[in-house]
């Protein structure tokens, strides 16, 4: 177990190395001269050349990469061209709302998907089955953005229970924080609910026909207990793998949600920085997001070993 954890942690290093190269390339090989874009169309060639020198853009690409990367290793992601603030502190300032969104929507996601999947499986042989099947079929085929818009219109505009914009940090009161973050988190989560509920339901239906379920029934265990102790617990294992990608995918969703609800998070900072051609910030954020992605998947892997003793004791 410890061995596995250490091995898994070490494997993050090459991944992050490759990620940094790719991030750097994407930003630097995108067509367009950053200095020109920053200074605007009327700027003189001298001014552009000055700025290029200042930003180090006149150096060979590999030198630029080396300079940037040796900074990154020490935890220094550079300085914003726009605000002259360090990128690390910008990310730190904006991470609170993004983290809140991700954490809360993960909770909402699981709180809806798990009971829905269990209910579908538990009621599969009753008169409710066709009703549930058609409702879930409807749920899966509804476009998520439509549902999200509906939610915003419903609970933000028609019944103005929740604000449709703005953010209050947790430190300034849990009530106000929750009030502002609940609707966007819900919208963010609803997009992924179908994926997780379906995966869990399918895994549970797979598990229902396994020999060990037959054993449990033959022991005379109550059907409800068979479902929870045996079917559900085993179905969690395959579902967990999907959960990693899903939670990481929520991070991508925050970019849109933050813009939509004007929440000052990482996503909004990224969009603003792209508009401002603030390359050090863009680079830093993309690298940071990639880092979170890797980290979430690492967590999920460790969770996986916790759920599956066959891996834990290998």
């Amino acid at each position: 177990m410890l061995n596995y954890t250490i091995r898994r942690l070490l494997s993050v290093i090459p991944v992050m190395l490759v990620v940094s190269v790719i991030v750097f390339m994407i930003v630097h090989l995108t067509p367009g001269n950053p200095a020109f874009l920053i200074l605007g169309e009327d700027s003189s060639p001298e001014a552009i050349a000055d700025l290029e020198r200042e930003l180090g853009l006149d150096q060979a690409l590999y030198v630029q990469f080396f300079n940037w990367f040796s900074q990154v290793i020490t935890g220094d992601l550079g300085t914003s061209v726009y605000s002259s603030q360090s990128v690390t502190s910008l990310i730190a300032e904006n991470f609170g709302p993004t983290f809140s969104l991700m954490a809360l929507s993960t909770v909402i996601l699981l709180a809806i998907a798990i009971p829905v999947a269990i209910l579908i499986v538990a009621l599969r042989k009753t008169v409710l089955d066709p009703i549930f099947t058609s409702v879930s079929l409807f749920g899966v085929s509804v476009p998520e953005f439509w549902l999200a818009t509906l939610l915003v219109l419903g609970f933000g505009v028609a019944l103005p229970i929740f604000p449709v914009a703005g953010y209050v940090p947790f430190a300034e009161g849990a009530d106000a924080w929750l009030h502002h973050i609940l609707l966007p988190s819900f919208v963010l989560a609803i997009v992924e609910v179908g994926i997780i509920a379906r995966m869990l339901r399918d895994s549970m239906l797979d598990s229902v026909n396994q020999d060990y379920i037959k054993t449990a029934r033959a022991k005379g265990v109550k059907e409800r207990e068979v479902l929870m102790r045996h079917v559900f617990v085993n179905a969690l294992i395959p579902t967990t793998t999907v959960l990693g990608a899903t939670v990481a995918g929520l991070l991508g969703g925050t970019v849109i949600i933050e813009t939509l609800f004007t929440i000052p998070g990482i996503g909004q900072l990224l969009v603003d920085s792209i508009h401002r051609r603030d390359y050090p910030v863009v680079q830093g954020i993309v690298l940071f997001i990639a880092g979170i992605y890797v980290f979430v998947n690492l967590l999920v892997d460790l969770l996986y070993t916790f759920l599956d003793p066959r891996i834990r004791y290998d």
Partner: protein, 335 residues
């Protein structure tokens, strides 16, 4: 103790209605050991599962026949009654010990669950009982093994754990569906001895299902031979082995590997495939593969009839006719 009367079990599959069990009757007395033998696909498992109504429904249907356990009609039992029957009165161990234990749950937990399903015992007591059960089936260092997961056991050990689990509530009948098929030969004998020992110690009736005649020869007081969802011959082990009265049983006996001195093992497989259980042929189901078949066999499906005291067979040939024909055929085959 257990009476099965004209039982029919159908499986409603997309390919058609599979008549997996097609009019089976037999009974089991207290403490008796019965063996059911037959090729793969003859309906043995479906029959065994029916005895505690364990076939998944759908696809299983019980259109005809009854099962009574101590006078109670099993097929008419509701959820709660079935739950009380399963594991408590009738317990079952399955074909594949590798997949029959929950892989993510500790052995001890699974045993305790079996105990607490029928006995109101506090956790600690249930735990002690679980350790006793493990010791009973010959698991060394039982106390420590309680915390192991199934994958940390070998196949034979897992089958022992499953047997321990089945014994949790002292069942009156233990159904063993191919308990040794998935195991190594040396382990097979150990598991069979264990079952025999349990029978002697607790007086549990055992229904052992197998396609291996060696297994039933070792264990059973009475043997039922099953073919295409029907019982085609039944009798004592002597009846079946030495007074064989039905061509299918005869073929089955000949298909058992025999080690001859100086030669490799010889085995005469039964030609052809078992019939489809969806469209049963009109006559005897064994007719296409039967070396003794005659025209009449295609018209009538011979019922199971008494031959000697407790020996029955389903074949249009009388025991004497069959004996003669068999001698002729064996004469031809050995020359």
């Amino acid at each position: 103790m257990l009476q099965v009367e004209n039982l029919h079990v159908h499986l409603d599959t997309p390919g058609g209605l599979v008549k997996a069990v097609d009019g089976v009757s037999f009974s089991i007395q207290k403490g008796e050991t019965i063996g059911i033998v037959g090729e793969s696909g003859s309906g043995k498992s479906v029959l065994a599962h029916s005895l505690m109504k364990l076939n998944p429904e759908p696809p299983a249907l019980y259109p005809q026949g009854t099962i009574h356990f101590e006078g109670q009609p099993v097929l008419e039992m509701g959820k709660t009654e079935l739950r009380k029957l399963r594991g408590n009165d009738i317990a079952m161990i399955f074909q594949d010990p590798m997949s029959s234990l929950n892989p993510v749950s500790r052995i001890g937990k699974q045993l305790i669950e079996a105990i607490q399903a029928h006995q109101k015992r506090p956790k600690q007591q249930a735990r002690e009982k679980a350790i006793e059960l493990l010791e009973d089936v010959g698991i060394a260092d039982a106390k420590a093994r309680m915390n192991s997961y199934p994958h940390q056991f070998s196949g034979g050990m897992r089958q022992r754990v499953l047997i321990a689990m089945a014994l949790a509530s002292n069942p009156k009948l233990l159904i063993a569906d191919e308990p040794t098929t998935a195991l190594d030969v040396t382990i097979q004998a150990q598991v069979l001895d264990l079952l025999k020992g349990i029978q002697e110690k607790y007086g549990t009736a055992i229904l052992v299902i197998t396609h291996d005649l060696g297994v039933v020869a070792h264990l059973a007081d009475r043997i039922l031979v099953m073919y295409a969802g029907k019982i085609v011959e039944s009798g004592s082990a002597e009846d079946i082995f030495y007074r064989t009265s039905m061509p299918y049983t005869w073929s089955l006996l000949r298909s058992v590997p025999v080690i001859r001195e100086g030669g490799p093992e010889r085995l005469i497989p039964i030609d052809g495939q078992p019939p489809s259980l969806i469209d049963r042929p009109a006559g005897c189901a064994f007719e296409p593969r039967c070396p003794f078949a005659r025209d009449a066999c295609r018209q009538v499906d011979p019922p199971l009839e008494h031959r000697e005291s407790n020996h029955s067979a389903a074949c249009i040939l009388s025991s004497n006719e069959f004996e003669e024909q068999k001698k002729q055929l064996e004469g031809v085959l050995t020359t």
